[in-house]
Amino acid sequence: MLGLTKRDFGLMVVVAILALAAPFILNPFPQGSAMAQFNAGYPDLMQRLVIFGILAIGFNILFGLTGYLSFGHAAFLGVGSYAAIWMMKLLTMNVIPAIIVSVLVAGLFSLVVGWISLRRSGIYFSILTLAFAQMSYALAYSVLTPITGGETGLQPKTSDPRILDGALPAGQSPSANLFGFNMSDTSVLRLGDWSFNFNTGYYLAAVIMLIVFYLSIRIFRSPFGMMLRAVKSNQQRMNYTGLNSKPYTLAAFVISGMYAGLAGGLLVAMDTQVGAERMFWTASGEIVLMTILGGAGTLIGPVLGAGFIKYMENIVSKINKTVLEQWFAFLPDGIEDLLITLVYPFVGKGWHLTLGLLFMLVVIFLPGGLVEGGQRIGKLFRRKKTDTTTKTPPAE
């Protein structure tokens, strides 16, 4: 269906259900309970989960298929963001032009960066992309201040021209919308102690994520996708098979750059401000982490990885000493203090430590990422099932 095999279509349906039902799935704990700490179903975080999912899906088309490890994808995210905010300042607060232009501008920028960086492969390619991203960051932070707002960044102001929008009513500040539907509008559904947030911006981002996820499945299964895997497998054989690997890698680079630009544009659509820090090299590194943690080269892995890291960043980092004290309050004083001292470095500001440890565990024991973990668990169950079926006949 939709030009997909049964299996891919099944995956697509699962992802669609997860994305559309996320407000329920991510808020499983009643409000006010001790576990409410782990609820992730608030608009800001849900938006980030799908937007970084888009970013990782795109990165995976480059890294997962061709094996070219770009360490500069945050630059495309940033360029997309700046393009989007300028559309909002100059044209309209409607997010459509902002999103389209962010994809196009990031595409052009990645064409230039890719054209130069793809002259080299392996570690040299990674370093070139890293250099480009850091240059972009430095430019945005200082030299290009008139365009990027420098340290303070950019946000739409009441005084901006916005030639397509009418004048704002007095006292109202500009807010991003989709033909009048405000991105930050959230309707809350209360069921007993539970509450679920349905946010316009989240659903726009989720629908776009589903579209680009579908596109990435098509790319994976296409002859083009197969050629990209051939690049990763054996470039020598490829060149001696009459195939020019350069345009293949460049096309993959530009496609993944456009995905990053789209993610950047969506970030602005949800939260109308940009700062240079989103182009910093740690942001690029985070994209690599997401993809590897989830499973590079798999369809669903990068989305899982992005969700996992963003969840950790926003939830684990919020656990502070007071929360820990509440958790361990039932224990005798000495043990309580000991446990708090032991756990404290891994939560709150120390969430990076937990992430780092998890990342090490995954890379060492599950080189295929979380997806491989899922597959192994699945296999375990299947083996048990076949075991029981082989054991039952003698009993009859």
Binding site: S222, P223, R229, M238, T241, G242
Partner: protein, 253 residues
């Protein structure tokens, strides 16, 4: 006029004259072997034919067109396919995908942004790849990862991939190097069969005299970067110059 004409080719690496005034003509639809002791310049010559190296002087013409300065993929698209000493295949991909890639390269050229339709929906390419795999007795292994096949099967797959591009000239670089006797004989039979069934010119670089004398119709002997003699296998066998090149001057024949 042969399909491949090499004229006055010189190639120097620093102080080493790897190729000195090489002239070689390979006639269409023959099996032409290039033999010679280690360091004779066989591989350098081959690399000059496929675009990996560019000769310092001289010309290399394939079917009336110069190949000099062209990239390996362009030369391949002209009709020269190369089989490597150690089989170069797409190890991470399945055997079927390995077969599909050259079929797509033949149909769509060096680059095609064919990013939305699925591979399986390209019926003509799919059928061709299936046919080729059956012809080469690899169809049962189509779901396997290419890297997990035996050495002999990898070689067979690599040759099949080259043939699916319908090349006019097939270059083989020591195709039986490191193979067991049985695999070597299988490869010889395979190449004989290919020659019988297709209009194809085969140039083969080989150490193993058993392979050379089982297959070749013409033989060029290369020594110290220069062709020594070119003749039929029967004449080469007893040629004093050849024995000299292989065994050294002090040996009396």
């Amino acid at each position: 006029m042969g399909i491949l004409e090499v004229k006055n080719v010189n190639k120097r690496f620093g102080g080493l004259q790897a190729l000195g005034n090489v002239n070689l003509s390979i006639a269409e639809n023959t099996v032409h072997a290039i033999i010679g002791p280690n360091g004779a310049g066989k591989s350098t010559l081959l690399n000059c034919l496929v675009g990996k190296l560019i000769p310092d002087t001289g010309s290399v013409m394939f079917d009336g067109q110069s190949v000099l300065g062209r990239k390996p993929y362009e030369i391949n698209q002209m009709g020269i396919s190369r089989v490597f000493q150690t089989p170069e295949i797409f190890g991470d991909l399945t055997v079927m995908e390995n077969m599909l890639i050259p079929c797509f390269a033949k149909r769509d050229g060096a680059f095609s942004l064919h990013a939305i339709g699925s591979v399986a929906s390209e019926k003509d390419v799919f059928e061709k790849a299936k046919q080729m795999l059956s012809d080469m007795k690899l169809y049962d292994k189509r779901e396997m990862h290419a890297s997990s096949m035996s050495r002999g099967d990898k070689r067979r797959l690599e040759i099949a991939m080259c043939l699916s591009q319908e090349p006019r000239l097939l270059l083989l670089d020591e195709p039986t190097a490191g193979m067991a006797r049985a695999d070597t004989n299988n490869t010889i039979d395979l190449l004989k069969q290919i020659k019988e069934e297709r209009d194809i010119t085969i140039a083969i670089i080989e150490h193993d005299m058993h392979v050379v004398f089982s297959l070749a119709e013409r033989i060029t002997v290369l020594a110290q970067g220069t062709p020594l003699v070119e003749d039929t296998p029967d004449n080469i066998k007893g040629h004093p110059k050849v024995k000299e090149a292989y065994l050294g001057e002090t040996q009396t024949v």
